[in-house]
Symmetry: C2
Subunit: 327 residues, 2 copies
């Protein structure tokens, strides 16, 4: 039976995908399990967005639907060509709300330099869906000279993150639950094309990229480690987490490494290029808090953390419910 | 406020799309309002499928999700490159049912000679969606020598349909409502690539194609007439409708011209090529009941019917509720 955890991006999602999708639909593009399916010189991706509430500090369902799909394209190095958007709307939704969501999609698409070139709308009776779901698909052109994928990761590579972790998940959860926590909690949802363009334009040899959405940074690094068949070792103290987010996580018993992001990329590249990459990222507002957080080592594929006290702790693949409907 | 009719494919859908999507998202590919958005040499399309029940005579949600998207690609003359599928699943859905749906998608994709190269799964809590929704997107390569679009329609062109009308809508409705009607009612849901390939391979000069889904043949012909800025005149007696479907429509007060199809194409081409096209279509099982049903005339854009008694009746754009959740 389908349980909430099947959609949480962790171990259960992984098992569901492996057993119930990859096997019956098997083909190389799908089985590569990248952020986009790559066919010839094209990258294709799709994501259904069911976030609740639909408006939250820092963003909304519309911005999320465009940014999430753009980020899946740029994470495989593709240059976006066009997006499609399919709306499932519940009878009774206010047209004013639809207008706000579509305006937000339009603005986010402009920000990412891409257009929504096809769409579809279905309406279901009251009670058959919760307000509005948007599924966005995207197509991009692959650049043969810039094809990051986990299999290219080398021992000794540096692991970067383009900014602070856990902003999106904590902001949506606090908004949903009406929690009044200290400091400003805002989703980081943003299209990251500009960051990837900066790395590509500098001819950096990016070995892998991934956007740490559901399941958070930990799940993302796990998947990179599996693809690389190597070990990712993080320095806990190097991981950027904004103070209010850290405080909220402590209060709520959440580990920021497992909380969803919607405006961040994990980047793996040669250690010798890491400082230059961080400088390029920091030159962009969306990458202002970029940091080197770890490195790739030989060993059993997996992910571990060097704690502030110098101990080593293995990370587990995300499991359980996490935060449902976070994206 | 969103009402059921906004998703029915008729006048209300048209107004919703014009005012609330085309305006804020404006760009040439979207505004062309073809079955797929065309960008450079690529066609892109997306459709959300929310049909209920998910299994019905002749098909299921999975087959519908693949066929619907393939048909939107081939209707603009594109050769499918790849599909993406995004699942929104309700907590509690049986995994056995998911497996049946995915197996059906895989089989239908094989039938259409295309693969599902990317996917996504979201799970929402019980009550937040009705069972399972699948959004399928597709990308195809446009053939510069075969680019049907309504603006190419000429006065005197013949209008063909590739088979009987209204099978899908009547079958789903009868199944949903538990109606025991005479004869076999089966959905026509099928990927129509083979039919379009037959026309292309014969170098026929196809001026326009469209698949008459929501809103039925009438809505589809209306859109062709608008795009052509001409009049489509149908001969009522030439329109193929299977006897049990005709009987069911009479009983239920439905006009088969307004009922959804999922395995048919309307084709407009020069009158001189019409007989050859019908012969080519009839040589395929999916086109066995292909027929010439009308022609294009000069005049106010619109659609009219020459009745069995020789009278002329203007068709109206579909409006109102029609059949919700038919696809």
């Amino acid at each position: 039976m389908i349980v909430i955890g099947h959609g949480a991006g962790g171990r259960l999602t992984h098992e569901l995908v492996e057993r119930h999708f990859l096997k019956p639909l098997q083909n190389p593009a799908l089985s590569a399990m990248l952020d986009s399916g790559c066919v010839g010189d094209l990258a294709m991706t799709t994501d259904a967005f069911v976030v609740t509430p639909r408006f939250f500090p820092g963003g909304d369902l519309g911005r999320l639907a465009v940014a999430g799909t753009v980020n899946d394209l740029v994470a495989v190095g593709a240059i976006p060509i066009g997006l499609c958007a399919a709306f499932i709307l519940e009878e009774g939704l206010a047209l004013e709300e639809l207008d706000r969501l579509v305006a937000s999609m339009a603005a986010t698409a402009r920000e990412a330099g891409v257009e929504v070139v096809a769409g579809d709308t279905k309406v279901v009776p009251r009670g058959a869906c919760d307000g509005a779901f948007i599924t966005t698909s995207g197509v991009g052109r692959l650049d043969p000279g810039f094809r990051p994928e986990p299999a290219r990761i080398q021992t000794g590579d540096a692991v970067l993150v383009t900014g602070t972790l856990a902003d999106h998940g904590v902001a949506v959860m606090a908004c949903r639950e009406g929690l009044r926590l200290g400091g400003e909690l805002r989703s980081d949802v943003a299209p990251l094309r500009v960051l990837v363009d900066a790395l590509r334009d500098a001819d950096l040899e990016v070995h892998a990229m991934r956007d740490p959405t559901r399941g958070g940074a930990a799940q993302c690094l796990f998947e990179l480690a599996q693809g690389a068949q190597r070990r990712v070792v993080l320095r806990e103290q190097a991981i950027p987490v904004a103070a209010p987010v850290r405080a909220a996580c402590e209060l709520l018993g959440l580990d920021p490494l497992y909380v969803a992001n919607e405006g961040k990329l994990m980047v793996v590249l040669p250690e010798a290029q890491a400082e230059q990459a961080v400088a390029l990222l920091r030159a962009q507002p969306l990458g202002a808090h970029a940091a080197i957080i770890g490195q790739v080592e030989d060993g059993t594929p997996g992910c571990e953390l060097i704690t502030a006290l110098g101990g080593r702790r293995s990370l587990r693949m995300a499991s359980g419910e996490l935060l449902p409907r976070i994206c």
